[in-house]
């Protein structure tokens, strides 16, 4: 089944309004800077947006006092993992309806135990490509991503960074090939819950009864105790119906890294 253009386009265009607030009390500042506002694509990553926010805040801070590597983001007491897509972090941590999403920018006391450091845009690109490769390993045993040219990989990354839907999908459709000898073996899925590391297990597109595996079935593979009456299953800010076939999710709701990222929240 090919992609539903309207759905993939909507997924691409999903954005969240973010208000970055500097944790000014951690630095020597005469005039605390005003917050920095941005509309961030859900499918993007914080380090891409943070470069400008960082520059903005630096004008107010004694630069000799801070190290760029020590910058980290926090919401509601949770350090935000920079290598998760913005939309995943929003779905997972944002519990109220208040917008913009107010995120605290810390310049000190990096929480080494909770998050890893981002060594810049190159590190993010590398992480993104490895995740894409992992997804294709699950879908096509890596055969498609490994036969791509370097420039195809670049095109995927640049398409994401520069918000070019067509540029990205021109290459991404090859990774989405699901017919003939390139039928998906497994659906790349990660399941998130607050306070726990994400889970990733093998989910087949078809179940043992030769029917399409549904999201409810996949949730039970991840967590045998999954209770649909007390859980909300969310991706891209939308509560996903539990009878949705996972193959449809993989083809239409996957993030650019080709994984379907699902948050399970208590209702």
């Amino acid at each position: 089944m090919p992609q539903d253009y309207d759905v993939t386009r909507q997924v691409w265009e999903g954005k969240v309004p973010v208000e970055f607030v500097l944790a000014a009390h951690e630095c020597t500042i005469i005039d605390a800077p005003k917050p920095y506002y941005a509309m961030l694509p859900r499918i993007s990553y914080f380090p891409l947006a943070l470069e400008r926010a960082y520059k903005y805040f630096m004008s107010a801070v004694d630069e000799s006092e801070v190290n760029k590597d020590d910058v980290w983001l926090e919401y509601d007491g949770y350090p935000l993992k920079w290598h998760y897509p913005v939309g995943v972090l929003f779905d997972l941590h944002k519990t109220d309806d208040v917008l913009p999403w107010q995120i605290t920018v810390h310049l000190k006391k990096f929480p080494e135990d909770d998050i890893i450091r981002c060594a810049g845009r190159d590190a993010l690109e590398s992480m993104f490509m490895q995740s894409l490769k992992e997804a294709d390993q699950l879908k096509h045993r890596g055969e498609i991503v490994n036969t791509m040219q370097k420039r195809d990989h670049k095109q995927l990354w640049n398409g994401l960074v520069n918000d070019r839907f067509d540029q990205f999908w021109l290459v991404n459709k090859k990774l989405m090939e699901n017919s003939g000898s390139n039928t998906f073996h497994f659906v790349p899925m990660r399941l998130y819950k607050t306070d726990k590391p994400y889970r990733q297990v093998l989910v087949k597109p078809m179940n043992e009864a030769a029917e399409r595996t549904t999201l409810a079935e996949a949730c039970r593979i991840f967590d045998p105790g999954f209770d649909s009456s007390s859980s909300r299953v969310v991706s891209h800010g939308v509560e996903v119906p539990l009878d949705t076939p996972v193959i449809w999710l993989a083809e239409n709701l996957a993030y650019p890294d080709n994984f379907v990222h699902i948050s399970i929240l208590s209702s």
Binding site: K81, H83, I116, M129, S131, K133, Q137, P197, R199, Q200
Partner: protein, 161 residues
């Protein structure tokens, strides 16, 4: 030298109750020697628990470990294979807790082959991709193990893209 580093390894494990026996030698590999080393290590550990270098290393090894919900408690078999000119590990098979992360195994291998914390070390799955440092070994095992083993290749340089 390798034995020495093993001792230190076990010694560190013995110091941290929650981390105890996080890494064990697979059964059948010099069991007697293992017992001796373990005993010695426990004693050494008690005596030198404040050695700064040791503490620092222990911290590095423990830091990235994360508790996993569904995969906690169990252990998996991990097979570590060198790539290119990465030093060979005398012991290749390890039994590791599923909630350990990729960052943890990188720190472990780095220490075993006596690399500096600042030296780069890459871990690959299926000779294809480098998993995220916070990915749990349990997840990788569930998705990529074959014959009941998770095979990880380690390299001092980027080996596969």
């Amino acid at each position: 030298m390798l034995t020495l580093s093993r001792d230190r390894e076990l010694c560190e494990m013995s110091e941290a109750p929650t981390e105890s026996a996080a890494v064990e030698e697979s059964p059948g590999e010099s069991a007697a020697q293992e017992g001796e080393a373990n005993k010695a290590a426990v004693q050494e550990g008690d005596g030198q628990s404040t050695a700064p270098e040791q503490q620092q290393q222990e911290e590095v090894a423990r830091r990235p470990s994360v508790p996993t919900a569904a995969a906690s408690g169990g252990k998996i078999e991990v097979l570590l294979k060198p790539v290119g000119d990465a030093p060979i590990m005398k012991q290749k098979k390890w039994s590791v807790e599923t909630n350990k992360s990729v960052a943890w195994i990188i720190a472990f291998v780095r220490k075993y082959i006596k690399m500096n914390v600042s030296d780069s070390l890459f871990i690959y799955v299926n000779q294809c991709f480098a998993p995220s440092p916070d990915q749990s070994l349990g997840n990788l095992f569930d998705c990529f193990a074959s014959d009941g083993k998770l095979v990880l290749h380690y390299s001092t340089t980027q080996a596969w893209g």
